[in-house]
């Protein structure tokens, strides 16, 4: 039953990804941008222009380019999407896939850590606020949600740097993932925290935590208010529900009643995880820039500003893949936890 659901969802995700690949391919080529001019300079001779155009394959008909992209053209070196290749960056001439394997973990680490910290903060606060509606915590959380729920993360990141790094000196300057004087561990997963543990590089681990602190705080700052608000609402709903009152009327111990409420309050929170993962992926683009982190956000900014088509396609597909997988995982967990979503 559940497997059928998983397979069905995986197929849908695959179709969506393919549709997105097609969409991205054509949209960026229909835009009025001129990548050749960007690459050779606006004063280049027509010959140099034509040569560059040919080198990029942009002189070929659009459909042929598309077949190159998908990997349907015979005898094509390196293959295309269907062979698992995302092409080579026009900027660095490196395979886009290799570049993404370096940059994606940086973003994933930042985003998941931020989400985890946000949830660890928001769940107890949201529930406490719901348990004492109108109390000080509730009011505080409400104002907080209103204020921080929509704030420019890039500006708050700069403020935090100004205060904590430049003025107070308690945090490191925004120079990447760890002390630039330390040699990073050889990548295993690409996640610096995990790799430094795997390689026993405790100096890097400590440094990385320090360097991650401000970016994570920035992200948590902007996203936790909204999460608190939604957890509060779900909990208020669960606490005022008939089944909680009936459980009390049946003389169930307080702990059991609390678990009854917890279960229904937190299951919808799962859906939030997916939504906020996507929100944080957006925020990562600017936060990475503030803190000089070479994640996929920074990568896509560079690719887009350079009109580096293969890199744009690769970055968009990578981000889409991650979001789709998170949505899928959350939906499956939801189906496991909530019998109602299983029955139809």
């Amino acid at each position: 039953m559940i497997w059928r659901y998983v397979i069905q969802r995986l197929l849908i995700a695959a179709v969506q990804l393919l549709a997105l690949a097609v969409l991205v391919f054509f949209i960026i080529r229909l835009m009025p941008a001129d990548p050749v001019a960007r690459l050779v300079g606006f004063n280049a001779s027509p010959e140099a222009y034509a040569q560059s155009q040919q080198a990029l394959g942009l002189d070929r008909p659009l459909l042929l380019q598309f077949s190159d992209f998908l990997g349907l053209t015979a005898g094509q070196p390196g293959g295309g999407l269907l062979q698992g290749s995302l092409g080579e960056s026009w900027e660095s001439n490196e395979p886009v896939a290799d570049e993404l394997i370096r940059s994606l973990p940086v973003t994933l680490e930042l985003v998941s850590l931020s989400l985890l910290v946000s949830l660890l903060l928001a769940i107890p606060i949201g529930m406490y606020a719901a348990a004492r509606p109108g109390g000080a915590v509730d009011k505080g959380a409400y104002v907080w949600g209103m204020f921080a729920g929509s704030q420019p993360d890039y500006w708050w990141g700069l403020l935090f740097i100004l205060v904590f790094a430049f003025t107070l000196g308690v945090a490191p300057a925004p120079l990447g993932r760890h002390d630039p004087l330390l040699l990073p561990p050889d990548p295993v997963t690409g996640l610096i925290l995990v790799d430094s543990v795997l390689r026993g590089r405790w100096d890097v681990l400590v440094s990385a935590f320090g360097y991650l602190a401000l970016p994570v705080i920035t992200m948590v700052f902007t996203v936790s208010g909204a999460i608190i608000k939604m957890i509060r609402q779900n909990t208020v709903r669960a606490l005022s529900s008939d089944y909680v009152m009936f459980a009390r009327a049946c003389g169930l111990p307080q702990r059991t009643v609390a678990l009854y409420a917890l279960r229904t309050a937190l299951t919808p929170t799962l859906t939030l995880v997916a939504v906020f993962f996507s929100v944080l992926l957006s925020a990562a683009v600017t936060v990475e820039r503030v803190f000089s982190l070479n994640g996929v956000g920074q990568y896509s900014v560079r690719a887009i500003l350079n009109f580096d088509y293969p890199a744009i396609q690769g970055a968009v597909l990578a981000v889409a893949f991650v979001s789709l997988m998170v949505y899928l995982l959350v939906d499956i967990l939801h189906a496991v936890l909530d019998p109602r979503s299983r029955s139809h």
């Binding site: 509606p133 606490l239 005022s240 529900s241 008939d242 089944y243 009152m245 009936f246 459980a247 009390r248 009327a249 049946c250 003389g251 169930l252 111990p253 307080q254 059991t256 009854y260 279960r263 229904t264 299951t267 936890l337 909530d338 019998p339 109602r340 029955s343 139809h344």
Partner: protein
Amino acid sequence: MSAQAAGGALLSATGICVDYEGKRAVDGFSLEIQRGGFVGVMGQPGCGKSTAALALLGLVRPPGRITAGRVLWQGRNLLEMDERQLAGIRGSQIGLVTQSPRSSLHPMLTVGAQLVRVYRAHTSASRREAREHALEMLRLVGIQEPARRLDAYVHELSTGMAQRVVIAMALCNQPALLVADEPTSGLDVTIQAQVLDRLWEAAGQLGSAVLLVTQDLGIVANYCDRVVVMDRGGVVEEQTVHGFFQAPRHQYSRRVVGLQTLVSASSPQPDAIRNAAGPEAEDVLVRVRGLRKVFRVPGRTEPLAAVDDIDLAISRGECVGLVGESGSGKTTAGRCILRLEDPDAGEILFAGKALHQMRPVELRAERARMQIVFQDPLDSMNPRWTVEQVIREPLDLATELSTGERRNRILELSRATGLPLDALERRPRELSAGLQQRVAVARAMVTRPDFVVLDEPTSALTPETTAELVGLLRDLRGRYGVAYLLISHDLTTIRDACDRVVVLYLGQVVEEGLTEQIFGAPRHPYTRALIAAHLSADPNSRRVDQTDRTGLLGEIVPVSESLMGCRLSPRCPHAVSRCRAETQSLEAQADGRRVRCWRALEGDLE
């Protein structure tokens, strides 16, 4: 124990007050309950009866608060106990049955797991023993296939079944007192009778006293020993059930009891057409032949026939009742006749015109002459519009009247339906449910239609407002000569308002006849069961005093179309093998009525 020996009361509450953000919902409620008694609590909606009942367990819905009073239980004040002490009493000594069973059970846990938890919270039973006990409890409250139901989730249960589970949970530790808050609101009469019978029997077996909150006089008359009447948050009357019906004291009590006698004294329209088989050809306003509507249900391979080959005729000015349990297809039939839903087969002639062949545009032009009143009056009105806008809409859509004529027509109808003048300026939600339904009737009548379908018009109303609405409908029929198709599961409404009655079961007509034929001498087993399950407000012929209460078994379950034989046979107490083998047809009888049951036709059931 000493307090009990002295006062004899099981529970005694004094001076309970419950506040909702400054508004007082219960105001000085006091009550004593004796061992083993069956007490009914009555009162108008909003009088605080449910809130007071919950407060007896020290419970209150958020954001309310119990601000004063005490509840003495075995000499100790419940309202001064902490949560732990309360948890020891709730569910073990005092049980609660709630009004909305489906939302009272946890949506993500199986029924069995919840029952086991409640039992184990108050006993030292092992998991296995608790499961055994849970099974036994489900059997006690009359759940079929209890072992399978233990693993069901609440969304897989019908409301009636969920209510039985709730009762099982409330009774599983043999409480000395059971508080039941409108336990059967929203259930069909047949299921209501089953549930209450089981509740009555189980409470009797376990020796529990019962406090039953209800506004149904029938329930009070048939099950309760004592009656408590509440008004504005306090008790205003308390006496035995016989005393209550003979000499009600409070004005509310006098009104509701008076209603019963008033209604049953009045007879149907004297000048109405008295032909059991339906009108003669020349009088016919609506004629339906072979009406059929099927629905595709997800998860079932076969489509389900909600309406299956219905023939019906209604003459001008006649009121025909359509009855049956929910799921019998009566609402779908009504909607198909007006073509609010497109039937799959059959013909509908309205004043000689073939409605079933009309295109949407032609149909819209016809709508002024046939109207409908819906079950939930508030839901059927645009919340942003004033009452006047609501009533005017059909005029705007279907007539060419001038603004002044429209205004006059609206005023005329609001007078005829007894709306206060200032109601026209208000929004529907600011009116009481009774007035809302009057607005709905005014809107249906404003274009002076020949035919109005009334789809469960009284189900959102109190018994009092129901009686008023029935009177209003009769009035309007006299004044405008309109014909009604009255769809209802409330037999009192049908009996008081209709000339003829058509009984539906699973989309088929099983019996059709004059109102007094159907109510006086029902023939079909289904009609008999419906009438038997109907709780009349007469404490002298109580249902619980009768030795034989066998009615229908179980609940309405859609049967496969390929099933040969009578559709009622799985539930019918009179079914024999021939019933399951032969398809039943609707046969006319000498007295004009039609019955779909060979045993009834052969007189086997008399």
